[in-house]
């Protein structure tokens, strides 16, 4: 059996509410798109959807980063 079985037992399962941040990319890149698609251009002729999706990459990466930072601080980064 693995040596770190202790970590995986039921006792250490503190809730990880901050993991809801992982749903942010789904809201941004999927759920919001019908609304975003109403506007065609920003800054002259740049497609707004392109700007929105580019921002989505940054926002999503940041959200995952925040989750990782919180997990790391709690010593939880290795917990499945």
């Amino acid at each position: 059996m693995p040596d770190d079985e202790v970590q995986r037992g039921p006792v250490t399962r503190t809730p990880r509410h901050h993991w809801w941040l992982l749903a942010l990319p789904f809201l941004w890149c999927i759920a919001a798109v019908p609304f975003v698609n109403q506007k065609a251009y920003v800054w002259g002729s740049v497609p707004f959807l392109l700007v929105w999706m580019t921002a989505g990459v940054l926002v999503g990466s940041a959200a995952i980063g925040v989750v990782f930072a919180i997990d790391s601080r709690r010593g939880d980064a290795e917990r499945v």
Binding site: P2, P10, V57, G60, A63
Partner: protein
């Protein structure tokens, strides 16, 4: 000149990567197929990115923008969505693999349900999905060879040549050399894309980036919003939402992505990668810009040639050294992922299907290598027989592989799920995707434009859950492969 540069880049990287990878390493099946489970942040990152940033990213993404405008912007969402799912999912897969020495996706499912037959069934599904997916890569590889090296030969020659190169590459080096060459190819690709993007406005004959956007707006006023240029239901908002929902669900059900998960050194490595990887996908912005410039520069390109729009644009409007650099890195971009696809198909087929019938062949490196040759031949024929736009092929791939998502997610989320339930669900979902007579009525229940994989997935999930409740659950020891021990004894039988 272009030909020479391209060849030097591609051959040099392959030889260098293979030699570097082979140095001081003894080859066995684990080493060859999951790199001995020793890849740290950087190597693992490059390999995962290699699997993300493929021929599809280069040619398919540009084809999407070139053909439709806005619909092509969807690619920007793929990596970040996959990463947020990966943060949760990949550590679970990795943990199971580490604890039990699993190498393939079939191994995981066989262990999780204590049912080698189920491992074999999902392996067959997985190999079919991979062969569909390799069509994207081989179509791209053939296109690069054909467009940039410009020899006047029938199309099948290029596909076959691509297949030959892939098979040789895999047979010699395995997963480790794929990872090393992935490093070279990613760096090169970024450099080439920057060079091409910087020159894009000039090549399109306009004064700057703003002018490219102005030009596209004037020529194609409907390009900025869905459904895009001349778009109908095939690229509307429902298409966008259903396709982007299927992508992260299907991404890890692609058996090669699954297998790559095993090659990480630890969970921290995996999680950190999920932050960095989306940032790398910002290079899609460069591809979008290049595709828009191509749209201005090549207004009369027939729709059938849209797959090669980026390549044609560069060939027509850039100096020979850029063409050569793009050709060389383009070959690598196709080669590394295809190599991983073939390696995965062969190793899982040997281990989980052949090994079931002939146990002494289960970990045979020779049988796996023979499998690489066989699957490459099949993939070459598969590719040469049909031609579709890359975006269409990709939508099909995710519709198909998305049907494995319930097996993957339920096996780490729900103790009660059974192999029989998942098989019934996946077969039903697979039939809905594959047989138009079943797919059409299923799609009719959803708004027009919805990718067929989504209604299929709903049916799949309902059947998987329903049938699971009617069949006997796996043993606790088997469940523990995918899930932590139960918190309380409150389990209904």
């Amino acid at each position: 000149m272009a030909l020479a540069i391209g060849l030097v880049v591609a051959v040099g990287a392959v030889l260098g990567g293979t030699l570097l990878a082979l140095r001081g390493t003894r080859m066995d099946v684990q080493e060859w197929s999951v790199g001995g489970r020793r890849f740290g942040t950087w190597l693992f990152w490059f390999l995962l990115v290699g699997e993300t940033f493929t021929t599809f990213a280069l040619l398919g993404a540009s084809q999407g923008v070139f053909s439709t405008g806005a619909a092509g912007f969807y690619v920007l969402g793929t990596v970040v969505l996959t990463a947020s799912v990966g943060y949760f999912l990949v550590p679970r897969i990795w943990r199971a693999g580490k604890d039990r020495g699993l190498v393939t996706m079939g191994d995981f499912f066989a262990a999780r349900f204590d049912a080698p037959w189920f491992g074999a069934v999902l392996t067959v599904f997985g190999v079919i999905a991979l062969l569909l997916y390799s069509r994207v890569q081989l179509t791209g590889l053939a296109l690069i060879l054909e467009t940039l090296f410009g020899l006047d030969l029938p199309a099948i020659t290029y596909v076959a040549a691509g297949g030959l190169v892939v098979a040789l590459f895999v047979l010699v080096g395995g997963m480790r050399s794929a990872a090393f060459v992935a490093v070279v190819k990613d760096v090169l690709l970024v450099v080439v894309l920057l060079v091409v993007a910087v020159g894009a406005a000039g090549a399109a004959g306009v004064g700057g980036l703003g002018a490219v956007f102005d030009g596209v707006r004037a020529a194609h006023p409907d390009a900025a919003t869905l459904p895009g240029i001349g778009g109908g239901t095939a690229t509307n908002e429902w298409w966008w939402m259903s396709f982007l929902l299927l992508t992260p669900l299907g991404a890890f059900a692609l058996p090669h992505a699954f297998q790559v998960c095993f090659s990480a050194r630890d969970i921290r490595t995996i999680r950190r990668n999920q932050i960095i990887q989306p940032l790398y996908s910002l290079f899609y912005v460069l591809i979008v810009v290049i595709a828009m410039a191509a749209l201005l520069a090549l207004p009369d390109l027939p729709a059938a040639q849209a797959n090669g729009s980026l390549l044609l644009f560069v060939r027509e409007f850039y100096p020979a050294w850029v063409v050569g650099l793009l050709a060389g890195s383009g070959v690598l971009v196709a080669l590394v992922p295809t190599a991983v696809l073939m390696l995965t198909s062969a190793s899982m087929f040997t281990s989980n299907v052949l090994g079931l019938a002939r146990p002494h062949l289960k970990s045979s490196l020779t049988a796996t290598r023979a499998g690489v040759v066989a699957f490459t031949v099949v993939a070459v024929f598969f590719t040469a027989l049909q031609s579709d736009t890359l975006l269409t092929i990709m939508t099909g791939v995710y519709s198909a592989v998305g049907q494995l998502a319930p097996a993957l997610f339920l096996s780490v989320l729900w103790r009660r799920v059974t192999a029989v339930g998942l098989t019934v669900g996946a077969v039903a979902g697979g039939l809905i995707v594959a047989v138009p007579a079943l797919g059409a009525p299923a799609q009719a229940l959803f708004p027009a434009g919805t990718v067929v994989g989504l209604p299929a997935l709903v049916v799949n999930l309902v059947l998987a859950v329903g049938v699971s409740l009617l069949t006997a659950p796996p043993s606790d020891a088997a469940v523990a492969v995918g899930m932590s021990p139960a918190p309380a004894p409150a389990r209904s039988a």
